[in-house]
Homo-oligomer: 343 residues x 2
Amino acid sequence: MKIKSSKKAKMVDVAKLAGVSQATVSHVINESAPISEEVTERVQKVIKELNYVPNALAKWLKQNKTNTIGLLIPDIDSGYYAEIVKEVESTLRERGFITFLCNTFYDSNLEKLYIKALIQQSVEGILICYGLVNKNVYKEIYNLGINLVVLDDKEVVKGVQVPSVEVNNINGSLLAIKHIYNIGAKKICFASEPLFNRALKLRYEGFKKAIQEYGYKDSDVTLYIENNQYNKIEMGYNIGSQILLDSNTDAVFASSDNLAFGIIKRFREHGVNIPDDIAIIGYDDIPLCKIITPTLTTISQPKKLIAKKGVEMLLDVINGESSNLYFMIEPSLIIRESTMKRA
Amino acid sequence: MKIKSSKKAKMVDVAKLAGVSQATVSHVINESAPISEEVTERVQKVIKELNYVPNALAKWLKQNKTNTIGLLIPDIDSGYYAEIVKEVESTLRERGFITFLCNTFYDSNLEKLYIKALIQQSVEGILICYGLVNKNVYKEIYNLGINLVVLDDKEVVKGVQVPSVEVNNINGSLLAIKHIYNIGAKKICFASEPLFNRALKLRYEGFKKAIQEYGYKDSDVTLYIENNQYNKIEMGYNIGSQILLDSNTDAVFASSDNLAFGIIKRFREHGVNIPDDIAIIGYDDIPLCKIITPTLTTISQPKKLIAKKGVEMLLDVINGESSNLYFMIEPSLIIRESTMKRA
DNA sequence: CTGAAAGCGCTTACAG
DNA sequence: CTGAAAGCGCTTACAG
C-alpha cells in the first residue's frame, strides 16, 4: 500500500482548522475539561476530516506513563505458553494495558536485547513467564528500578525477593508417582530434558522424594536426563529408545508433555502397547494431551490462574501496593488413557 | 521488585556529571559525531554509573522514526502462525526492526483496537498474517497512509491492490485430490470450518475443480462444512461423527490439519482404521502432523518462505521501492501414514 | 572536536 | 468554558 502524499495531521492542524486552541483539542479528545457541545462537535468533525490520529509517543513522553507491559516467553510454539499469553493479554487489556510480547527462545542474548528494548520503550512493568536463562538480568532490571514479576522461578536479588508466582513442582511429582504406584508399576523411570531451570530441578527433587515415600528401591528406578537442550519432542523420541533397551520398565514419568509425546512416538513405532506394556505420565496438561493417541495422563498446571495471579501481582507492584510478593499454586493429576490399564 | 527511590537518570544528568553538553552525550551514544576518546570514555563511565538508559519515546518522537513493525496474527495457539511469527521476528530483527505482536482471535473489534494502537505508536508498517475479518479496516489503514502487507489474502482498496503474499490454495487442493485419486479412493469428502476467508474459499474452489478433473461424480462426493466458527479440533471431532454416519467414505480431505486431528480422534474412538478403512489428508503441515497417530498426510505451506517474502515486501513498501506488490507461492504434498494403505 | 538552541507532538497547571 | 505557555527527553543542523 503506497504512502499517501498528504502528510499526517497533527493536533495543531486540527486546532487551526477548527478555530480553537491546541489545548481545547486535547481536552475534547481526552475529555479532560468541560468543553461546550458546539466546540466539541466542531473539533470532532475536523478530526474525522483530517483522519487525525493522536501520536502516542508524544503523549506518553509528556505524561511519563505508557500503559504498556512487556511480556517475555521462551517459546511461542508451545501450547503451555500460548495459553499463558492469551490469559495475560486479555487480563491486562481489561485493565487498560497494552502488552508487548517477546519470544526469547531461551536465548540469553535475546533476553537481554528484549528487556533493554522494553525498558527504553518505558513499559510500566515486565512479566517474565519462565526462569530467565541469564539470572544476572534480574539484577540489571532491579538496578534500573523496573517493576518485575516472574512466573515459575524464585530469585533473590541483593537480599530482596523478586515477586513471583510458582506452581508446586515438588507436589506435582508426588502426585505423578503416587498415581504410578497405585496402578501397580514396579520398575519406573524419570525422563527429562536437562535440568536447566528451577521448575525442572524441583520436579526432579519431587521425584526423588516420592520414590522414597512409596518405597521404590534404587534398582527399580532409572533416570533418563538429557545432556543437551534441543527440541523436546525429539529429546523424548531419543529417550524413548533408551527406555526400550531396558525392557523391564513399567511406567515412565516425563517432566513435560512434549517430552512424553516424543517417547510415545518411539514406543508406538516399536509396537509397545501403552499403557499395558508401559504406562506414561506427562507434565503440564497442554491441549494436545487430549488429542494424542493414547490420551496422556499428566500433571495439570492451572495456567489461567498462574497468568491471572502474575498480572495481579505486577499491577500491585506498579501501584506500589504491598501485596504478597510470592504465591504458590497447587497442581493436580489428570488421568487419561496412557495410564489406564485394561486388565 | 520495588521501585528504587532514585529517579531515572536522563541524558542531561549524564551531561552535567560528565561536564559536557547534552549534544555530546547524544553523539557518544549514537556515534553521530567524532568525539575525542577522552570525552567518550568519561561519558560512558557516567552512563554506567547512573545506570542511564536512553528514552526511546523521546528519540522516536524527535526522529519521527521508530524502527518498529506491528504483526497481526489470529491465533498464537496454532502451530502454523507460531512458525510464521518466529520467522518474521527473526528476519525483522536482522534488519534492525522490533516487532510488536498482536493476537486478534479473529475478533473484528480486537483487529481494530490493535491496529489503532499500532498506528498511535507510530510503527513503520504493519504485517497482517491472515485475511482480516473486517475488510473495512484495510481501507482505514490505507486512508492513514500506513505501510501494509497482508499474507494469505488479496484485496483491492480504492482501485489499489493491497501488497500481499499468497499460497496457491487452488493448487493445494488439486494436489490433495490427485493423491486421494491415486490411492484409489472412490467415495470422498471435503471437510472444512466455515469458509469465512479467502484461503478457505479457494481451497473449496480447488476441491471442486479437482473432482471434475479426476472424474468424481456428485454422488461420490460429500461436503461437510461447519456453519459456526469455534475450536477447530472440536469442529473436526463433530464432523468426524457425521462422516461415520455415511459409512462408505474412502477418503477425507480436511481444509486444515487441526480439523483433521479432530476427525482422526473421532475415527479412532470408533475403531475406524486409518488409512485402511478411511484415508485422511490435512492442510498446512504443522509440526504436530509428524507426532500424531497416524502421522498425517498434508499439503505443506512453505511457512518460512511466506514469512520472508512478506517481510521483504513490507520493507520494500516502507522504503518506497516499487517491487512486485503480489507474490504467489506454490504448496506441496507431504505423504505420511494417514494415506499409506498397507494392502 | 564540542556546544547552544530549536523543535518533535503532545499534556496540563494556571489564568481568565 | 477556553487558551497561552511551559515542558516531557531526546536529536540535529549549525556555528565555532
